[in-house]
């Protein structure tokens, strides 16, 4: 293999793993109608990572801790009848963003490493990053494989899932935690401020194209991987920030899916019939 292609091996693996795992957890986020959770999670991971950099701790470790804390706060807060779920998410979002900018502000010297966490750098992915991404992808796919029918029930209707005897709270919170893990694992490649787009755009595109959940998972993972690969190659060829290109690509895929969507074309005929 030519050396210039050999250096792409790790970024290619990162693109495939990142697109795959974000595509899968994105289906949960979109079908549970909690896109803002992805936003709050990604910013929590970003805040955790820059806090880690400030304190001299492995940023991925602190990103995981912040993400886990956010996921464990989001679930119970969203269930409290006296706080609107979007309000609780907004509060968590503002808190983690405050932490992130506080940590950046307190840093001495160059802040390139912290700023890298905003954009991500898929071309510079390390073996450690790759191992974490593989672990996150494996955990998400294992969970999906083991609890497919229960996850489908929870995504269909949480109250009904509970009513038929499924432990829906435990499953829903595990889904949130795994979302956090996926976000953390992709922090250094996609970037903390952009990753939520990769979680929301591919499944939203898939949602436009199918009425089958399994097909939605497959399409979403495919669109995620495709977006990451396009981002990687454009970045390699032009030196453009990979994270930004990945997000623009995934947004374009969504736009295209919306244009050709059979659901949209049938739009006026759709809807609950009286």
């Amino acid at each position: 293999m030519p050396p210039e292609l050999a250096v792409l091996a790790k970024p290619l693996a990162a693109a495939i793993l990142g697109g795959l795992v974000c595509g899968v957890v994105g289906v949960w986020v979109v079908l549970a109608n909690i896109p803002f959770v992805g936003v709050a999670m990604s910013h929590a991971a970003f805040a955790g990572a820059v806090t880690g950099l400030l304190l001299g701790i492995n940023p991925l470790l602190t990103a995981a801790v912040f993400c886990l804390a956010a996921s464990l706060l989001i679930g119970p807060m969203a269930e409290r009848a006296d706080i609107e779920p979007n309000v609780s998410l907004g509060i968590i979002f503002s808190v983690v963003l405050g932490f992130a900018f506080l940590a950046i502000g307190l840093m001495r010297g160059p802040r390139a490493e912290a700023l890298n966490l905003i954009w991500g750098s898929i071309l510079l992915v390390s073996a450690q990053d790759l191992a974490l991404m593989a672990a996150a992808t494996g955990a998400v796919l294992l969970f999906l494989g083991l609890f497919y029918k229960e996850i489908q029930a929870v995504l269909y209707n949480r109250e009904i899932a509970l009513a038929v005897g499924i432990p829906e709270r435990a499953l829903f919170f595990t889904m949130l935690v795994l979302c956090g893990l996926a976000v953390t694992a992709n922090l250094s490649t996609i970037g903390g401020l952009l990753i939520f787009s990769l979680i929301v755009n591919p499944p939203s595109a898939a949602y436009q194209l199918t009425y089958r959940l399994k097909t939605m998972y497959l399409l979403s993972a495919l669109f995620g991987v495709l977006s990451c690969l396009v981002g990687l190659f454009v970045s390699w060829l032009t030196d453009a920030p990979a994270g930004a290109v990945i997000i623009i690509t995934s947004s374009a895929v969504f736009g295209l899916a919306l244009l050709i969507s059979p659901k949209r074309r049938a739009g006026k005929g759709l809807g609950t019939r009286g």
């Binding site: 009848a81 959940l213 939605m216 759709l270």
Partner: protein
């Protein structure tokens, strides 16, 4: 709690912050009863149903289900024996869930974790869809149903669970007279066929099937009356029940 009770409530109180949804409710519903829960809007009827299947949390008292005192530890298991048709299940018309998949959700609890649904589960789902006249809807997205079809699918999902108790929350609201009649016949047929205990909430007395042998009247978070069907002919009682209703 008696062994013949499907549901036994003792001094049950439910509140949401300062709002008391049910206050000091005690009642028994016998196994095999067809029980109508009636009362004006906001009286506490739906809350009564949700404490029977544990979706609502009680702040005082005890709930007995099928001979067992319900606790956080055993409610998950008890729920598998209770079918529930919620008031309205809003589903996005674009949602990637077919009617057959929606019905199969009812098998998930009984199947247990880490077990895939098999051909037997699918056969049972199709049999119940036949019974409820929804077999032809199997592949249709569940968000693209009429009101009557959606209630039948919800009923099929509850029945495929093979419940001993069937809870119905305003199953006939916003349906046309034909759909009301059809759904009522299906519920009565299921009650007889599967020897169910049925608890049906409604605020439309004429929607309560004639076989309903037990009436619970709820007003202002309290049980105002429990007795047999003859209460529905008591004009004074009904006038009092709906006295302040708009």
């Amino acid at each position: 709690m008696t062994s013949t009770s499907a549901v036994s409530l003792r001094s049950v109180t439910v509140s949401y912050r300062e709002h008391v949804a049910l206050r000091d409710v005690s009642l028994d519903i016998g196994r095999g009863d067809f029980c109508g829960v009636i009362g004006p809007n906001g009286a506490g009827k739906t809350t009564l149903l949700t404490i029977i299947n544990g979706l609502g949390r009680i702040h005082g008292g005890t709930v007995g289900i099928l001979g067992e005192t319900a606790t956080n530890a055993n409610f998950g298991r008890l729920r598998r024996r209770i079918g529930y048709v919620a008031q309205q299940e809003r589903v996005d018309p674009r949602a990637p869930v077919s009617c057959l998949e929606a019905v199969l959700v009812g098998r998930c609890g009984r199947a247990g974790l880490l077990r895939r649904l098999d051909a037997n589960d699918r056969d049972r789902a199709r049999a119940v869809m036949d019974l409820t006249g929804t077999a032809h809807l199997a592949e249709r997205p569940v968000g693209q149903l009429s009101g009557g079809e959606a209630r039948k699918i919800a009923l099929a999902r509850a029945l495929v669970q093979e419940p001993e108790i069937l809870l119905l929350d305003e199953p006939t609201s916003n349906l046309d007279p034909r759909a009301v009649r059809e759904l009522g016949e299906l519920v009565v047929d299921a009650w007889r066929r599967f020897s169910l205990t049925v608890v049906m909430v409604t605020h439309q007395l004429d929607h309560l099937p004639a076989v309903a042998n037990r009436i619970i009247m709820v007003k202002n978070a309290r049980v105002a009356f429990t007795g047999d069907r003859s209460a529905l002919k008591d004009a004074r009682l009904l006038a009092e029940l709906f006295a302040d209703a708009a």
